[in-house]
Symmetry: none
Subunit: 275 residues, 2 copies
DNA sequence: CTTGCATTTTTCATATCGTGAAAACGGCTT
DNA sequence: AAGCCGTTTTCACGATATGAAAAATGCAAG
């Protein structure tokens, strides 16, 4: 989506003194800030932590963690529940993080397309992009049915066990594929998960051929997902759009029908992006 | 914002040494961290800034800002676009921020806002969402007056005869409006009810223009209601907030004044949702 | 092609300021 | 009441964040 992760292809005309990328230990970073951000991140993963717990689990002194939290609290990045005496992520963190989406108009443009897709299919519609070898779900429109697939925006998921992930992988050339999967295990989440590279490649071949990817209970038992890639003006797959629902409603015989709607939605979105 | 702002009611049992709240200058915060967060926040507001610009606009030396950015980049909180040489908010900020939503629901977050609204206006405050073409009242903070409007949470009410309903309808585009009203009769509950589609459209036009909706005895004789829409991060109207009271206290001449408070409350709630 | 300017990144010396230990403070438990 | 536990503050020390300036580069102008 946004440049940067293609050093081989992009011209990379860097103004100013070039950064010393070889410096693995990153000596140009601020240690105290990094430690503070570690606490921040840790807190976001395990919400509702007490000061002492937080301190011991991040290997820092309670006094330091306390000061970090109070400082962040001053900006609303974290919140202190005075009743329960627990710390949480604050609303401003949400506001700031959400601005990540504003960078490209992708999410905004996708909104009406997704809504229509949800109405046509009756299933939850999702939008995801690739980030650091994972699928990042950035937006969703929930179905009105009571039984629904729920992926809160901000969720990260492995590429190989996700419809959107596979739709994106299928559009990558071999070098990029290697990089996206580098160091990643093909974890088995269910008995249906794809765990071998050969099997994955074969599946991706199919995805390319028919224009959509299927996640048939590869991540969650009882959930199926049908996804198609969305292209930007450079013909690059920048996102995936999908519907997901319970096996009871999304039967194997429904896939053909649903895939039509998903592909149409992907085409629509591609068109509004200038593909 | 969460629990914390009701010192009169909450017991406020603080374990440990009590914080020195009088210390307005907050001497217990970490200056460097605060400055770093200032850059972080500033960047989120004005995305795509160059280093120098960022430095001068936050009144810090380029070297310092550079180190802050590189540190945050290491955690994915900010991103550097190598082609354009610009800095942006990173995906991890989105992931972390999104976890804020997991903790509390719309209803819980609305609670303090509604309480304040009730105190300001002296009237019962309501929160409602749209479900299946009807308004679902999900939460309420009752006034202390003896004569009070009472909507038990869980109550369903037709959209066209409800302040919240009209506030939500007014934000829909035409297609969605059609669907929300599909198959619904514009039932007359009182002589003041709106029963013709044209009249409703005209009213909605007004609602949009002034930013709030009024239910003037359209559902119950003797009760008036002033509502405003609440938006989520996608700028979609997800809920409505309102005050309702007897005509004796909510006169036509009070509407202007009350609507200010309602709109302010709606704005507050919208803000904590990331709108 | 050369020169100058703008911008980013690194080096370095300095003193700021972040740090942990320990004490102070209260609530909670027995 | 006394002891325990978790939070907040104090304090003295030295790690480290900081800005100035230099280095390294691209870009635009001559």
């Amino acid at each position: 989506m946004v440049s940067q992760d293609n050093p081989p292809s992009e011209p990379r005309r860097a103004r100013g003194r070039p950064r010393d990328w070889s410096d693995k230990t990153a000596q140009n970073t601020i240690k105290s800030l990094d430690r503070a951000m570690e606490v921040f991140e840790f807190l976001s993963e395990h919400q509702g932590k007490a000061l002492t717990t937080l301190a011991s689990e991040t290997d820092q002194s309670p006094a330091t963690v306390y000061r970090i939290l109070v400082t962040l609290e001053g900006r609303g990045l974290v919140e202190f529940d005075a009743v329960e005496q627990l710390w949480h992520i604050g609303p401003r963190a949400f506001v700031i993080g959400a601005r990540f989406l504003r960078r490209t108009s992708l999410v905004e443009r996708a909104r009406p397309v997704m809504r229509r897709l949800m109405e046509q299919t009756g299933e939850t519609a999702n939008l995801g992009i690739e980030r650091g070898g994972q699928v990042l779900f950035v937006s969703q429109v929930e179905t009105e049915a009571t039984i629904r697939a729920f992926f809160p925006p901000g969720t990260l998921s492995p590429m190989h066990a996700s419809g959107i992930g596979k739709a994106l992988l299928a559009e990558m050339d071999d070098a990029r594929l290697q990089r996206a999967l580098a160091g990643k295990e093909l974890t088995a989440f269910t008995p249906y998960s794809i765990t071998h590279l050969d099997a994955l490649r074969a599946d991706l071949e199919q995805v390319r051929a028919r224009g959509y990817a299927v996640d048939a209970e590869e991540r969650n038992i009882g959930m199926r997902c049908i996804a198609a890639p969305v292209f930007d003006i450079h013909q690059e797959a920048v996102a995936g759009i999908s519907v997901s629902g319970p096996t009871s409603r999304v039967g194997l015989e429904d896939i053909e029908r649903l895939s039509e709607a998903v592909r149409a939605a992907a085409r629509d979105l591609t068109a509004t992006l200038g593909g």
